[in-house]
Amino acid sequence: MNDILFSFINSDPVTANSDGPLKDLRISLHPNISVAKWPTDAGSAALESYRPLEDATVVKRLKDQGAQLQGMTRMGELGFGIASDTAHLLISQKKSDAALVVDTMGEARYLSALAGAWGFKPSYGICSRLGLIGLVPSMECISTIGASPRQMADIFSVIHGQDANDFSMLWDELPEFDAPGEKTGQVRQAGIISEQLAELDEEEKKAFENALAELGQKGIKIKECAFPSYPLFREVHQATGSAEASSAAGRYDSVRYGRRAKGTANWNDMYLESRKEMFGSLVKSYLFQGAYFQYKDYDAFEHAARLRGLLVKQCRSLFKDVDIILSPARRRTCDALKAATVSDVYDAFALTLPASVTGSPAVCMPARVMAGDMDLGLQVIGPHLSDEMLLNFAIEMSQENTRN
């Protein structure tokens, strides 16, 4: 079935376990999260008619807990850019309680700000990527946007955790997360980054300062921190992300699925013509950038990988002084929904890229950073594996911190 908001509607969203703890949750999914037999095309003609044989691990876990999987949202081609995304609309129009989306540059955080809802990107390596048809495997995380942080926490407690079939996850014991909302007062000291602040315009700054003042009233101390390497986040993300994307998208050859060009003379031409036809210009530009690093300047890619390690280290030492780092989730003037070039996309996600580069968890809170009636979202980044603290903080802030 087709729909403006859904790319696929599940006619029977009730799962076998209709008494499970998530039975009242209506969840829609980005169509790059595999559901067996559902058209899972990642918003791209490259995956036209592709239907996975198996559920993604997170989908399996949601089904087991009784969640109602409504269908697939629409999304930007292969997850690059959100111009054609509908996850935020499903939430703001209350058609879904939550959406599972893939966050590679900040999509979940940006979309939640657009929806006036909550967004959560977990730490890299604690949610299985099995079944995620991604583009930038070292950054993408299955994330949630939803109307309440409690629901987001409930979903996270179900989908996170060791998957014996995903060896790329963290091997070490993962932190337990069984009782969302029970711990309070873990966040006392928040940091803001001078270099990031300097990039905001006056109106953004004012909106952000209002949000900080509100937090101050709740007893949270704010500290300005210097992060001289901050401008590197974007360069590192772009070099690493585009090169990984170019390599990962090499699989789209139109042979077993995907749109195939007609009238080609041999397999080589078929690949070339099909790839020419199947990819949109935005994805093509990104893949070309990545191919440049792959074929012409691998040293630059390696350099970016080293810088990424450095940024992770610097970020870690920042968290010695603060519990969380705060910023708006999006810019007032750089609209991701209108981004037409790779530069536009990176401009739009400038504030969310850092947590994707470092693999840090981040929550986006609604209705706090208001530029007029535009919700810029309050992004709260925690140290790696501080997911529980962040979600508890979100629940605390939403003032619905009572279990029933």
Binding site: S247, A248, A249, G250, R251, W267
Partner: protein, 477 residues
Amino acid sequence: MSYEAVIGLEIHVQLNCPTKLFCNCANAATEQANSHICPICIWLPGAVPQLSESALKQAALTCLALNCEIQDESAFDQKVYYYPDLPKGFQLSQHHKPLSRNGWLDITGEDGKSKRLRIHHIHMEEDVAKLVHETEGQARISLVDFNRAGAPLVEVVTEPDMRCPHDAMAFLRAVRTQIRYAGTAECSMESGTMRCDANISLRPVGSEAFFTKVEVKNMNSVKAVGNAIAFEIERQSKLLDDGQPVTMHTRLWDPEKNITTYMRDKFAGPCVPDPSVPSIRLSKIQINALAERLPEMPSQKQARFADQFGLTEEEAAQMSAERDLADYFEVLVNAGITPRPAAQWMAGRFLPALKEQHQEIASTSLTPDRAAELLSMLEKEVINAKQARKILLLMFTSDKSAAAIADEKGFKQLTDPAAMTAILEQVMADQPDAVANLRSGKKQAASFLIGQAMQQSRGKANPKLLADLLENLMGDN
């Protein structure tokens, strides 16, 4: 001008391992196409590779067998390569951080001297699918069989230390012996479990720098590798002599015509690290535990055979060349057979007979304990060498013991001195000229007389006993 060849090899070895490299599908050849497949090894979107522990251990053991140093950290890269046998667009291979480096093997060079050839590194990678080309009516179609896709391989990359076809062939044989000893792979070029590409370039004798290299593929035997290299040396020498440039490209060996032909320009796809396969760290303890699984290797065995059993260097080398052969030999020795005659019998009688019977040493119907009985009868002179040869052949097709066959065929050696003296006396009476020759000091006359006596006994007499008796008889007269 006179040139020297500079040769390096890239050897792909398919590991013995129950599973594929990144999934639990069976790593076994099968008739039914696409029967050993799953979402991981047909490379569907969303699949996450799961590195097989047993494949990693087999690969590491192979590295140790080739004297390589296992690296503290190794990792997989996505090696870009577009072809219908790899519908993922990249192969998981270890380009930047291979599993091991700095290995070596000793070979005997053309001059008979020992020569150490260095291995640059060994890395793991996944095999690609198999393409089957057919016609459907008028249309030519290509089908893809994924049974082989994702099979665990190691690639042995040598330093360019080889100078002639002999070096390359000796190196391949040495690699094969070492790996077969370790038990980690079959290493058959004929069946494709070992594949070898050769990089060949020339340089003027005495020069350090060399000309452009050419890669040659498609050799399906050790001999073919030697032939292809010899051809390529010849071809490139002519080009250089004619003042034509050698360009970097890949050529195919044509075993029918014994020539190489242009295949394609050299292509090296870019590699970015794969974020889904975790990096590999093997601790010293793990590496030592693996090293303990290595059996006594050929060079150690050869030294022990020479030392413990008094074999000559050549005999010891021969008896340690293959693990199954060495094991067979040791069973014979442990059963009490004198080592050198046992080695000589194996090389001179047993192995040729085995080949004739189309049997393998590991699975032959003539088990070593049965052979030991035969050799023991020979040593105790219950039978003579000629009889032993006949019994050997019969033992391949019968499960009877050597003694039973000897009984059946009446192969008991004639050892009664009275009867043998009678035969000798008859022969001496019939051959007075030979007797006279012997008396005048012509030693070969004795052999003639003994031969005649052997004939008279229909091969049953003990020739050594005959010689003793003849000496007595001559002394008496």
